[in-house]
Amino acid sequence: MIAEETLVQELKQEESRSKAFEVLVNTYKERLYWHIRRIVLNHDDTDDVLQNTFIKVYRNIEKFKGDSKLYSWMYRIATNESLTFLKQKSKKMGVSDQELKDRMIENLQADVYFEGDEIQLKLQKALATLPDKQKLVFTMKYFQEMKYKDISEALDTSVGALKTSYHLAVKKIEAYLKEN
């Protein structure tokens, strides 16, 4: 695997940009896909947001200053793109954010690319009750098994605050699953 600093340098130089960008897409497409999928839930929407994310990365690579890891920077873009996508969707449909979340879960039951059973559906319902940040921290830690340090860079939040958010999220999800 190519070192991140080398990749960034190649991305910034015009003559090596195309090849380096292909490496970047191949390296991160799956991780970013799952990150986006857990926010927007539906495969087709995830595909749209993933493509938009890479297009934004490509257009903004000159502005990447290297203060954070390239990986966290891309996660930040993917997160913003996903949340903006949901906001635009709820506005287009003329429904509230919560109503949109409820509908997204309803649609999961008929989704051919959702293979979850009753417990997984309940988990999604539990996740929908959490504030955005808590949900993000939970899925990044629990399902994507990211380190707190990397989540901290991606979400621009301190490790301490993330740990608190994660534990709160776990407690709330457990309580929801027990009650329902």
Partner: protein, 177 residues
């Protein structure tokens, strides 16, 4: 059941044999903050077969390939006919107004109407996407399109009728630094 000779307490068969394994499992779970078994390990999402192979060329076609693509501008016969027609209309109108004493229709009125209708009704065999690629947006000024004589209320009326939500204008496009 295994009996302790010194007291009457019993333990299940094999309890001490796998105690270490169970303890280590529990410690691992505790460390990972996943002491609970209530939350499922998988969230049940799946992807279509071959999706991850297809997405790379799709992304590259919208980024790298788009930037390096050389557009060969080859006007076909229809395009020449079109240019000739516009030129003919210009000459015709110009000669007409040159000799005409009538002031009811001005040169501007006729020329604009004819050119507009020609552009609207003629198929140049170029999609708006292709035109957008040839004509760079960065080189255009808003005033080139609007001119100076557009009244504010006409613009407001247009926006009122055609834009449902001000957010659609994407004025708040996030700038990633």
């Amino acid at each position: 059941m295994k009996k302790d000779k010194k007291n009457s307490f019993n333990t299940p068969e094999g309890y001490f044999d796998n105690f270490n394994d169970r303890l280590m499992d529990r410690i691992k779970k505790e460390e990972a903050g996943e002491a609970t078994s209530l939350i499922p390990k998988s969230d049940g999402f799946a992807v279509p077969d071959g999706y991850f192979d297809e997405v790379t060329p799709t992304v590259l076609s919208k980024t790298v390939a788009k930037e390096t693509k050389v557009i060969q501008f080859k006007p076909n016969r229809n395009f020449y006919y079109g240019v000739a027609a516009v030129a003919a209309i210009f000459i015709l109108i110009f000669s007409f107004t040159w000799n005409s004493t009538s002031e009811s229709i001005t040169f501007d009125d006729l020329a604009n109407a004819e050119i507009e209708s020609y552009l609207e009704n003629t198929d140049f065999e170029m999609t708006s996407y292709e035109i957008a690629e040839v004509v760079s947006l960065e080189e255009m000024e808003l005033t080139n399109i609007l001119g100076d004589d557009f009244e504010d209320d006409i613009i407001m009326e247009y926006l009122d009728e055609n834009v449902e939500d001000i957010k659609e204008l994407n004025l708040d496009d996030t700038d990633y630094e």
